[in-house]
Symmetry: D2
Subunit: 332 residues, 4 copies
């Protein structure tokens, strides 16, 4: 059995991870930490079948685990990650702290100097469809952001095949409210949010753009919107193809890249994905639609569950790869 620990178990990604690890046939969860809820049990905080005591992070015994998942807030994970690595424990970090390769980019988007820039070089961006081999060897995996997962996967086949006429791509994304986390705010207060819908951080101001640009080499105009559902992201991508790119060629590059991927499904021509196709599972489902009378324009729609393929599901997928397990174990 792989022995795992969870740092920050009482946020939505932590809770989802606890649930996934509990049903994973090859994992035992040894500890779960929390800040304000330390001393309670996980089931006091949230209904769950995995009823661990919640301990303070300092009480975590790293000698008892093979891997830790960090579900801590952005900007706070470096000491925990360093401690784990020093103890020989492999790390899957779900924060944004190790996703960017260059410390300058981190500083530019996150507004502060990175305190362990050398780790950025060794960290592997945890998108298995791209970095599977590196993940298998990695000590530190930086689990991708939820929005970036929904944007990068459907862009990469076109990028790799050099089919884009314009490096500027529009990603109009709509996310369920669990993506905003479990911290209280009027923006996530039921009576302000239900029967509402809004855009926020548009105009290339959202930090997730850094990952999208890094992984695609494009310049993504990313517009996030807040959808009155709990889970799920749907991204609508607007792409300009090279003139005279046949529709069949577009489908072909998707089929080629994702043919053997267990967690990416490309829909047949004319079908579009819906949120409910993926809520509760680890799939990314992609639909492709040419634009009538404007053949060089192409619209691609992708959906993921922000807490699964967009966070904790992908983290377990990464762990499976790191420990040589079947990649889908505990995720189907």
């Amino acid at each position: 059995m792989i022995r795992a620990g969870i740092y920050g178990a009482t946020g939505y990604t932590g809770i989802e991870l606890a649930r996934l690890l509990d049903q994973h046939p090859r994992v035992t969860t040894v500890f779960a930490t929390a800040r304000s809820a330390a001393g309670q049990r996980l089931s006091d905080v949230f209904p769950t079948t995995l009823d661990l005591p919640l301990i303070a992070a300092e009480e975590a015994d790293l000698s008892q685990v093979d891997v830790v998942f960090c579900c801590l807030p952005h900007g706070t994970t470096v000491p925990t990650v360093q401690q784990a690595l020093a103890a020989g424990v492999r790390v899957v970090d779900l924060s944004a702290d190790f996703r960017l390769r260059r410390a300058e980019e981190y500083e530019r988007w996150y507004g502060s100097t990175h305190s362990a820039p050398h780790l950025l070089e060794t960290a592997v961006y945890g998108l298995p469809e791209v970095y599977r081999e590196d993940i298998a060897q990695a000590q530190l995996v930086a689990n991708p952001g939820c929005y970036p997962t929904s944007v990068i996967l459907p862009l990469l086949p076109l990028v790799r095949a050099n089919l884009l006429a314009d490096a500027t791509v529009i990603a109009d994304s709509k996310s369920g409210i669990s993506g905003a986390g479990r911290s209280l705010s009027l923006k996530t207060h039921f009576s302000e949010t239900h029967e509402n819908f809004s855009a926020y951080n548009i105009g290339r101001s959202h930090r997730h753009i850094a990952e999208m640009d890094q992984e695609t080499g494009l310049s993504v105009i990313f517009s996030p919107h807040l959808l009155p559902v709990v889970r799920g992201i749907l991204s609508t991508l607007y792409i300009t193809l090279l003139p005279d790119t046949p529709a069949a060629r577009v489908h072909e590059v998707y089929a080629t890249m994702f043919a053997d991927e267990p967690f990416v499904t490309v829909l047949p021509d004319g079908r579009l994905p819906e949120l409910r196709h993926v809520v509760g599972n680890n799939q990314c489902v992609i639909g492709i639609k040419p634009v009538a009378l404007a053949p060089e324009r192409c619209i691609v729609v992708s959906v993921i569950d922000n807490l699964l393929k967009g966070a904790s599901g992908q983290a377990v997928q990464n762990m499976n790869i790191m420990f040589g397990l079947e990649e889908t174990l505990g995720l189907l």
Copy 2:
């Protein structure tokens, strides 16, 4: 024009009141107070057509108004109400502070001594269908609670006609989440509430029972539940009638009491009210259903909009009565 002031304009009842007063043909809103939002404008806090500056309560000029509406938290209104009354300004208080006639009852349910017990004697319980004449003369009207309005109105016809065999009555009530206010809590956090439903404060522990018992003379077993909608209360009442009470007699006592009431509608036999019948209007709609094979059992279902007939709409109805206006003015 009647000149009005609003204390506590940034909670949901305050915002709704501002909206109602803005569209009222005979009212000018002179001031609106807020605590933390003082210095901003009402439209900064919430989308609204009435764009008043928000002032601190101490800055309110009582010499400029004929009436004030207090939308302050329970237990905090006494000084404000006393100040207004001393300035000769009439008051509609939307808190629970003046709804109970006896200070002992207040102390029993609210857990602290009432600081102005003499005001309890002069305050009029603002249920127009019962106290219309007293409200017309009142300096201080205690606007009823939302749940009590939905429970008292459908019980009174049976109480007055002495048709009840049992003074214990069950009220199973379901309320939209705006009833929990605009303060942040996990209980009103979208991702914890959407697709959820729960009972709370059951077993005669909710404070609103004090009003229900006081106004009906019964002992109400009241079970509130939190409904994943923004607005509306539906109460299902379980009543034991005197043996051999004909169904027609039950309908008759409702028809008699509410025949001329502009804001109470009794549905014809066999029809039941739904939340959407009242969301956005000031009606209380009531449906009556005898129980097959158990003729002495009767189920009554009532619906109101918790922010209108359950709070700000009823407050405006009370103001109309206090100032001799047509009771429905600004409410249709």
Copy 3:
């Protein structure tokens, strides 16, 4: 491997069953039937991982299966069930057709003569917490209704311990809209239902009362309400206990009956269940609340997922028992 067939796979219980059987380690689903969708695949009808072709019922080869699940509409299952039994295939029927023991009761509540009254005698009511031994031997299991499961389980401990002072019990139940099925109607049209809430079939007119009365020996005043969520039932039960029944005794009878039950959880004193505790799992969670100042009154709140413990989850639990498997297999 147990070989299973599903009749009526495209309604919500059928779809949920297909999903459960797909992830069950000891079951292979051999066929799935549909009426209007015959010829399509299950994944054309609904997003799912179990991608079976949909065949007409007449094409089903009963020689290939050990068990069939009937998810057909009430009043239509007798021929299918008879055919399966004649072929030596065991049956779990999710309709209401075999739940009542006496043909007269069936006729009274369903308004038509039962066409196979002899089967009513051999059918076992599929509530494992009550009839586990009989289910193990049964050829035909009548899977309980969703509402009855949520009402019978929390009543039985009190009934068995003879703690009730009154045989009339009130069950105020609230159900998610998937309980109304996949057939189209204005009552399940999004724009009529969202932000709405209503009671229906109250006053002892709902057919599920027949099961409740049969299994408890009580007379249940059952009031169903339509909740604007997809899944889940919460039932609030109002019970009159014998005078001087200690609260501890009440908890004791629940603890005794459900101590070893894998799918019934009784909450500790003072805690109440919420819908989200059970949505997606096969649990029935029960909370008990005495009424202050009225010790003989007791309120019990139960929650289930109407499609799991209320339908397809319980059906799989029954199948596990019938075939001697661990009762929780494929359900955790």
Copy 4:
């Protein structure tokens, strides 16, 4: 008093219109027609304060009205409109039948020959912000589509000022489900729609594009999405401006065009509109956002209530103009 008739009063636009006319101080609604519900009353079909009998269209007495509103399905209105015009009654048509100026365009997008092409020449496109003077004189006003209203209004200032570098514009629109009408379908079935989100008819296949292109002179890539709320449309527009267009100039052209418009609000720099700003009112609210580091790219977000500014509210606004009333009468 203006005497009005409503054809097709039981769809969502008809019901909303009945409500608006009922509260309009200068209108009496003389008749309301329905097909299947003829013989019932409007309040039997939907909770409403305007309790008209529903008559068959043939029974409508055109000699009793000054204006009729046609809320009939697309492709069916020509005979009714011709009859009304022949009787000297002015018409506001809420269908798509008279919105396109050229019969060829109608045929191209709607797939059938227009049966009264001469009426297309006299019909006025009922967007008051553009055609106010023509509307005042019109016998036949073609009320704009909901999506086109949300897309055309925020594009026109830039078009008129010749600030666009590219005639291809992207409109990513999200609409509440009432926009899909009151007819039953799985796409509007609660359990399929709640907690779901999807794109449909993308790739320049939605018929509303015809209006958008006609009124803007652009080629709009329009992607509609189905939002799990009842009311409201939010459109996110992606525009390429001429190089070196100052942000201030963009704001200026919006301010200039909409300065005196009672029902268009342009937000100050940095603020974005939300659905709840407009649900229940007749406003179109617009926010403008330049794209960091890509100054020629501009994102504009607009919101309307699809049943008000997107349909029945705009129809009343048009009627007010046609009859020389204050444009906002009955709409504030």
